[in-house]
């Protein structure tokens, strides 16, 4: 039992954090809100250069042969930066699922995807695939996994409250993958949990910073016990969600038999954490947090969306109950 990350893992995390701090400030996130794609200029390429994009592929396919325990810290960073790039769909779900499926579909797509030359999308079957229009192959995960090449597919777009999340209903010619849909779903839910933790952490950090310098009635807002306890409650949720998200990543990587149950534990707690962090952040900011010009809402809305994506808290609680036999 060793919960510590290796020096390499920590270094990788710090490198990604530095990249995002420099290259993914709020104005870059805003650009993805306003442009045609919902994506940034160049960030995906930079992540590909660092090896992040294809890291979950075997080395034989040009990847880094890394697994969910390596990826989980990067997903937290992606959440913290509100990164509008398909790290979940492509790196956490698409690549390992294609590698698992093997065969002609992997031959056709995997190496390109690892190199960042093709982008993989993913969505729950009957749900929406985020960013399908900027993907090349979309995996629709239901009772089975159907892969739909975007060239020639029919895409119906809907607007998300997070304008960088372009939602698509996807139809078209498909190939059924020889891969475990339950595992693919858990990869998505686990990745969403890690991103929720990162989003929640940013919301908390930004709010702590704001209330420490905002004065009302002659004192910093952050010196009022009500505000302190709001933020302590958000911190508590995050503190206990984060290890479960990391543990879920390990369960996926290690093939733990309780994987689905413990991914649900993580996603339910992470959804609840980001929901509370978003409510708390807005309430402690007051009116300024309610404006479009102020950046806080970029994270709030990402949090709302990710909290509901790949099963919301209630859905995962039901799955836990089933696993417990109640």
């Amino acid at each position: 039992m060793d919960f510590s990350f290796s020096d390499d893992q920590i270094m990788f995390q710090e490198a990604v954090r530095d990249l995002l701090a420099n290259e993914c400030p709020p104005e870059v996130v805003r650009s993805a809100w306003e442009n045609d794609t919902g994506r940034t200029d160049g960030l995906w390429g930079a992540l590909a250069e660092m090896g992040v994009v294809g890291m979950t592929a075997p080395e034989s396919a040009g990847g880094l042969g890394m697994d969910e325990t390596d990826l989980v810290l990067l997903l937290e960073e992606a959440g913290r930066a509100a990164l509008p790039e398909p790290l979940l769909e492509h790196t956490a779900v698409g690549i390992p699922t294609l590698a698992e499926a093997g065969g002609s579909i992997a031959e056709a797509w995997l190496e390109q995807a690892v190199a960042g030359e093709a982008t993989l999308g993913a969505g729950a079957d009957g749900g929406y695939a985020v960013g399908a229009a900027t993907s090349d192959l979309v995996l629709l995960i239901g009772d089975q996994i159907r892969a739909v090449p975007v060239a020639g597919a029919s895409l119906v777009e809907h607007q998300s409250v997070d304008w960088s999340r372009r939602l698509f209903e996807v139809g078209g010619e498909e190939v059924v993958l020889d891969a475990d849909p339950g595992l693919a779903f858990d990869r998505a839910a686990g990745a969403a949990a890690a991103q929720c933790v990162g989003v929640a952490q940013h919301l908390l950090d930004a709010t702590v910073e704001y209330v420490a310098q905002r004065y009302q009635f002659g004192k910093p807002v952050g010196s009022y016990q009500a505000v302190k306890h709001h933020l302590a409650n958000a911190a508590l949720k995050i503190e206990f969600a984060r290890p479960t998200a990391r543990h879920a990543a390990w369960c996926i990587a290690a093939g733990n038999p309780d994987r689905s149950r413990d991914v649900s534990l993580a996603k339910a707690l992470a959804s609840e954490a980001v929901d509370l962090a978003a409510r708390t952040a807005l309430q402690c900011h007051g009116a300024i947090g309610y404006t479009f010009e102020y950046d806080l809402h970029l994270w709030m809305k990402r949090g709302w969306a990710l909290s509901a994506a790949w099963g919301d808290a209630a859905w995962h609680r039901n799955r836990i109950a089933a696993a417990l036999g109640i």
């Binding site: 809907h158 607007q159 939602l167 009302q216 309430q283 007051g286 509901a308």
Partner: protein, 380 residues
């Protein structure tokens, strides 16, 4: 205690319901936080007013029908149940008008109330400033007397629909040497005053629902002073009572929303089976709206018995604002994959609801009021 509605109250309800059924637009209007939607809502206020439904509890001379408080609550139940549009005139009618009735001169009442009620003049609130939000007594905007005029310098913010409004009701510092609650005055300012610029700020949903007001030598005649010079705090606090209490958000609004939530659950349950965990959240919303309803009718009896609304108004503010957030959050969760979609009335409602625990005195301040003024706990 008789909690049945009298025949007269039932008749009033029927009349309102019938009129609304025949007159409420079939299609929802555009958002009142957009320029076009604002004008659509103004038209609707004209229509309401001309039929005598805009301000049912007001005196007839200002366009009301002198309805009782119970009848007003009944009207609100019917209004929101009918799916009628939001009230673009509500800041004037609910927040400013009670103050005009209490503090206005007869001339001011005659000048302002009727156009306000008809939506001919839509009002926005100019109280908050960048450094004075919850701490309203920190207001810095100055209005210096110059003969019969006040000359205003400063900045206001978070004025809802301030980019479209015709008039502003403002709290300003008329005594430049004063501090905190002293030396403030309550001024009514036409939007087209020279030296006043309103700039839209995007609200959470991206619509230009807020404005910042920049005053640079804006001159306002003293006939637009509401209450005495330097007595603005007392006048404002009367308005604050209305804001939190019976006037701004009647139970009918939330009863209708809860009923729609029940309907949404039924509709979705038909297509994908029941979901008892979420069902309990729907029940919570319904219970909250009903609790608010009965507490309001109980308060009506108290007021009729001569008691003031007082600090108990804070109970209502906390209840409806938190109920509104939970109710809409539940709807979004019920919607599943569609919960994150921007183009849904539930998302619009959620985003709007989120402002509730902040405006009109944050809920933290309301809980301070409850504990200190209702329960009597020591201030420090």
């Amino acid at each position: 205690m008789d909690l049945s509605f009298t025949p007269a109250e039932e008749e009033f309800r029927d009349e309102a319901r019938t009129w609304l059924a025949e007159n409420v637009p079939a299609e929802p209007l555009a958002s009142m936080d957009t320029p076009d939607g604002f004008e659509e809502h103004r038209e609707w206020e004209h229509h309401l007013f001309d039929a005598g439904w805009a301000v049912v509890s007001w005196p007839e001379r200002y366009g009301g029908r002198e309805a009782s408080l119970v009848e007003w609550l009944v009207f609100e139940e019917e209004y929101w149940a009918s799916g009628a549009p939001g009230r673009v005139s509500s800041n004037g009618v609910s927040l400013l008008a009670p103050t005009v009735f209490d503090f206005g001169t007869p001339e001011q009442q005659d000048r302002f109330l009727r156009p306000m009620a008809r939506g001919d003049e839509v009002w926005a609130q100019g109280w908050s400033e960048p450094d004075a939000g919850s701490d309203l007594a920190g207001i810095k905007t100055k209005a210096q007397r110059d003969g019969e005029h006040f000359v205003i310098e400063g900045q206001k913010t978070w004025c809802s629909r301030g980019a479209f409004a015709d008039w502003f009701f403002c709290l300003v510092r008329t005594d430049p040497d004063s501090e905190r609650h002293a030396g403030l005055s309550y001024l009514l300012v036409p939007a087209d005053t020279e030296g006043l610029e309103a700039r839209a700020i995007g609200r959470l949903d991206g619509e230009p629902g807020f404005a910042e007001l920049f005053f640079d030598g804006a001159r306002v005649h003293e006939r637009y002073l509401l209450g005495g010079e330097g007595e603005g705090w007392a006048v404002a606090m009367a308005t604050t009572g209305s804001e939190r209490g019976l006037n701004l958000r009647a139970p009918g609004r939330f009863m209708a929303a809860a009923d729609r939530l029940v309907g949404l659950y039924q509709e979705l349950a038909d297509s994908r089976g029941s979901d008892l965990d979420r069902r309990d959240q729907v029940v919570s919303a319904w219970m909250g709206s009903q609790a608010y309803r009965w507490q309001t009718y109980a308060t009506e009896a108290r007021l009729r018995g001569g008691a003031p609304i007082g600090s108990e108004a804070s109970f209502m503010k906390v209840l409806w604002s938190e109920l509104d957030v939970e109710l809409h959050a539940t709807a979004l969760r019920l919607l599943g994959r569609d919960g994150e979609r921007a183009d849904s009335s539930w998302m619009d409602g959620y985003v709007f609801a989120l402002s509730g625990p902040i405006y009109a005195g944050t809920n933290e301040i309301q809980r301070n009021i409850i504990s200190e003024r209702v329960l009597g706990l020591p201030r420090r």
